[in-house]
Each structure stands twice: as C-alpha cells, then as structure tokens.
Subunit: 175 residues, 3 copies
C-alpha cells in the first residue's frame, strides 16, 4: 500500500457524491473558475443506450470552452499528456468499472494514476461516486467493486488538497 | 431545467437523510420550535401492512398539536391550501414514488411543487430520503427513481434557505 | 424507547462510515492516541472465506500493542469485563447481524449495550457501517436490518460525546 507515501498535491481536488447529487456540475464549476482552456477527460464507454443518453446529457449540460478527451482505461497517460491546464476527470467510478471489466489489475492501475497525479503541474478535479453507504450488495462483483472504489477514494483523498462530498447539489467540505 | 431560476425562499428547509437516520424527528423538531398550529402533510399511501405499520409508528411518535393532511399525489395543491402556518411534508420520497406509480410526468409535478413553494408565505420543512449513495441498482426502475430523487433534491435545495443531512439522528448542515 | 433517557458519556465516540471509507483506521487512530494497553473487541464471526480474509486483513493492518477479545454476541459483557482502558469495538454492524441471525431480541440487546456503555469508566470507540443511504432493498430481511442499524446508531449517538462520519478516509464531525 502506498497510502501515506504521498503528501497532498496543491492542485488535486476530489469530489465525491451519490447518484444525481450534482457532483459533476459542482466539479465543472471548480474548473471553470480557473483560466481556460479546460480539458474534460471522459472515462465513459457507451456500451448501451442508457449510458449513451447519460453521456449526451452530460455534454449538453457543459458550457462551451472545453476540449474532450476519452480515456476509458489509460487515465494516467491522458493526465500526463494534458499536464498543464485545468483538467476535469469524470468519473473515477466508470474508469474503475472499465479497469475491472478489462480484467486489469486494480492496484497496478491505481499506482499508475497516483504517479501521474503526483507528476502533473496543473490543477485537476476528480469526480467519483460514493457507493458504499447502502446495504451490502448480494452480488459478489458489486461487493468487490465497492471495496475497490472505497480504497481508490481513500488513496486519492490522501493526495488531494481538497475533498468534497456533494449532497443535493451542495458541497460538504471533508478536507 | 428551472434550476437557478429561483432564489432561496427564507421559509423553506430541506431535511435529507438515510433510512432510520432520524430525519423525520429532526424535521418535526424544527417545525414545533415555531408557534403552532402545525400541519403535517403525509404523502404515504398504505398499500401493504409494512407501510401501514410505519405510518402508525410515525403518528405515535408525533406529539399532539398537529393536524394531518393526506396528499399522496397533489402535494402542490395541499401546500397552497395550507399556505400560512408551519408545515411539515413527510416525505418527498413517497410522493415521488406515488407520482411514478401513477404514471404522472415527474418534471411537470416537480415544476408544480416548485411554484407552490415559491408562492407560500409560511415556513415549511420538507423531508426526503437520501437514496443515491449505494451501488447502482440492478433494477432499471430503481435507477430511474434514484435519478428522479436526486434531481428533485437538487432542485429543492436551490429553493431552500437551509439544507440538512441527518446522520444517526444528528444534523449536518449542508446549506 | 430509551432515547433521551441518557446523557452523553464523555468517553464514548461513535464512528460511522460506508464500506471501505476508512472508519476502522480512523477509529484505531483515536484509540492509539490514548495511553495503552488497548483492547480490540472484535464482533466478526468468520462464517466464510471472504469474511476470514477481511478479518485477517484488518488484523494485519493494526499496529502491535492491542489485545483482541472476541464478542460476536455478548458485547455488553465484554465491555463490562474491559471497563477501564481504551477499547475499540469493530464493529456494531456485525454484532447486530449476529444478534439477528441468532434470533435474539434486538431492543433487549441494545438496552444491554446502552447500560454497559453508561456503566464503563474508560474511553471507547464504536465503529458502525452507514447502510441507509441506498435504494430500499428488495429483500425484507435487509430492510429490517437497515431499520435496526439506523435505530442502533441513533440511540448510541445520544450516548456518545462525539460522532463522526468517515468519507474517503476523512472524518466529518457530526457531533
């Protein structure tokens, strides 16, 4: 475990929240408060119509001035390529899902992400879903996902200078 | 979307919380701290014994001095009819469930609720369940419900002067 | 209901959090900040390999200097036996699960736990899972569990001098 090996990076902000809690909108506001151009790193893979609709809706909600980069799996490389200007990563949860569905090793992917974050100069806002406050899922894969997501958030919270939990569109400052 | 079109209404308070988090009790305390008479707007429909037991338990837990109004669907009309004194709406989650089960259009119902809230003079406390912090439900209807609930809470949080999240019976002030 | 009959006990701290939210680690830090020796009261029963792995991982994560006591059911008696030094109870959620699986009466068990807490002299940190912020479970036993867990947390929060909600390894102070 690398937890504790890192100190907080001034430019890293972690925004967690439940489904439809306004976390993406809040995170976008944090980025657009900085001088542009802004890079939106999308981790979504449109594998069905419901997901395609969600992606389209998210894009329609965003103001102009963004360039969009798709990084469903190699998020670390995308962060290195876009190392200077303000970046929004939306979202960690889909990235983790993609890593797991691709049968990649989660701790290795996480270590790569941490290294890329520590090496970046520009400010970055990472969005993730809080998924651990319900009843234990009956599905073993869902339990494993929940464990990985929780560990991912804990590790990134160590790196982050600021952490927020959004509730009904409003931020609770956790760090 | 009407989000942002409204300014905060001084008399509107939103209380969110998980199951058995003490949100109703906390909300009742906010209302009974005001001079009565108090109106309890119940949105519950007793469609099975479990629900009937919950309603009876909630009523037994309440102190005397309340008049109860049932509004499983037309919450906006009930708010207009009881526009002056302190009102408790318990809860938004059951109201949304009823709207969806009755195949009514959720955005239309929400717009009606927002208009009724903006037009009221008296103080009001709205209670809702936080349902978005678990694993994505496998059931498509549950996912749609979760999306609607999240948007409902975000929209009402814009209108509200105060927003709380209850945890173990204790309020976290979010706004 | 005994809620309200108790005043806050200076030495009782309640740490709630979602799955993999860092609640155990945070709670252990609260205990080890006090002079030892420290007693770890484990409520886990290893009924399958997944659980055995979790227990082993938790033990490996802990620093030396702890003595471990197992109390899957009679938590109150364990608290009385270890009434002086700093104690960590990890966790309430498994204890409640064990009580329900053993068909014991939950309110009776809870009253016993409250009495044991009120009678103790030494500091104690109780860890519990927040399980109520997801969609209503389809499973009736899960709904009953969720109700019992919420009531348990509310009752212990009345007794506690401090209550925290951990998010991504970071504590939100609720009381």
């Amino acid at each position: 475990m690398m937890t504790g090996d890192h100190v907080a990076v001034p430019g890293v902000t972690l925004v967690l929240g439940g489904a439809r809690s306004g976390k993406s909108r809040f995170a976008e506001g944090l980025v657009t408060a900085l001088p542009g151009p802004w890079t939106y790193i999308a981790t979504a893979q449109a594998w069905d119509d419901e997901m395609r609709d969600r992606i389209r809706q998210h894009q329609a909600d965003r103001v102009p001035g963004w360039s969009t980069v798709e990084a469903p799996l190699d998020l670390a490389a995308a962060l290195v390529r876009h190392g200077q200007g303000p970046v929004l990563v939306d979202c960690l949860t889909l990235w983790l899902t993609n890593i797991m569905l691709a049968d990649q090793d989660v701790p290795t992917a996480l270590a790569g992400l941490e290294a890329a974050l520590a090496a970046r100069a520009g400010p970055i806002v990472l969005v993730g879903n809080e998924v651990g406050m319900g009843i234990v899922p009956e599905n073993a894969l869902a339990r494993r996902f929940r464990d990985h997501a929780g560990r991912l958030h804990q590790r990134l919270a160590v790196l982050a200078a600021q952490v927020f939990l959004t509730v009904a569109g409003l931020p609770l400052k956790v760090k």
